[in-house]
Point group: C2
């Protein structure tokens, strides 16, 4: 597997369908998709603020939301298939289709990450990319990581940042545990706006033109 | 197993917690819980009207919503346990705890029901009750089945109705496929307002006092 692309839940449904279709059509690389839980996971956050669930209940049910979004996304892409395990990932890839991993079973069996809202689908994707020895790209609904919140007037997109420095940023467009994992694994990740599939493709196909492509590279190496 | 109680998604979170706690505290009967998908499943309906997913994608992902609600509900009830299979249902029951079945795996392996929005957690609960040779009670957010929609001024609660007759009603507080299943299995089900746990308990404990308890009995026998 060359790349794990995490498709942010905020891109679901239309933008995530467009992005994965574009990936299928425009790369020869082996790509696996993992989906964020999107509005389903947000609903769990809302219920949690009302009911105060245990960290494990939140963690497990939020991962189930990733399954749901992945299952629905796969339904709209004839060349994609939703799978629950890494063996099926390989089989689907060999058939020149795009595997969309529904991670609940894998995460249930391995249970490698902290149970907390600091760990979201970003960290889960990073963990799975590491398992597969693949590079990680996180497609979200903003252009990357900014010096301040993206809506602030003087916010500037950061082209490259160390995971160590990012740790001091607090909340950004990626979850707070991801930087720790990148440092632990000594790996990197790209954060890209998934609404512009050409940006993701530039990076996946390793023909990044810095003038034209906006993204943030987070370095843990 | 004496009873399968389907706890409607509209009762989640507070009312469903109250209901299952009351069941645990006030009956000696063996009860298993199945949860409706609630607001999570409604979200899939919304996305479906926008994206037109396949019947199987809707069916499977709506069942995953039942898992999520069940997992979260179990978290708030120390004497309940979320389980994925009928062997665990029996083990949990033997420990005098209430099993909450997360039905996605069972339904995936058996796939016994039509894939359509006519089949919801009502029909799934009916199917599982039949597997367990248990009676079925559906706890919802209205008093039972009415002669017209419950909000209509002249709507009257029906105390007992044949599943055959109910087939001609179209949409009611239960899904349209349930009547067919009750006829196929020759079984009955109670439809009860879950906001008043004493009503559910009267029926489960078989001390129904018709004067005090409002419900609808749907007869397929």
């Amino acid at each position: 597997m060359d790349w794990v692309v995490k498709v942010g839940g905020s891109l679901f449904p239309e933008n995530s369908v467009k992005l994965v279709k574009a990936i299928f059509e425009s790369t020869e690389k082996e790509v696996m998709i993992v989906c964020g839980g999107g509005s389903f996971a947000n609903q769990i956050r809302d219920y949690d603020s009302q009911m105060n669930f245990s960290a494990s209940a939140n963690h497990e049910s939020a991962i189930m939301c990733m399954d749901i979004v992945g299952r629905l996304l796969a339904d709209k892409i004839p060349d994609a298939e939703a799978v629950f395990d890494l063996n099926s990932v390989k089989l689907v890839s060999k058939e020149n289709k795009i595997p969309i991993l529904l991670p609940s079973k894998l995460m249930h069996y391995l249970d490698p990450l902290e149970h907390s809202w600091n760990v979201t689908s970003d960290s889960i994707s990073c963990y799975i990319a590491q398992l597969l020895q693949a590079k990680l790209l996180i497609a979200t609904d903003v252009d990357g990581i900014y010096t301040r919140i993206p809506s602030a007037k003087d916010a500037k997109l950061i082209n490259e940042i160390s995971a160590k420095k990012l740790l001091s940023f607090g909340e950004t467009s990626i979850d707070t545990s991801l930087s720790e994992l990148l440092l632990e694994f000594g790996s990197n990740c790209y954060v890209v706006n998934g609404k512009y599939p050409e940006r993701t493709l530039s990076i996946i196909n390793a023909c990044v033109d810095v003038d034209n492509t906006q993204y943030t590279l987070v370095r843990g190496d």
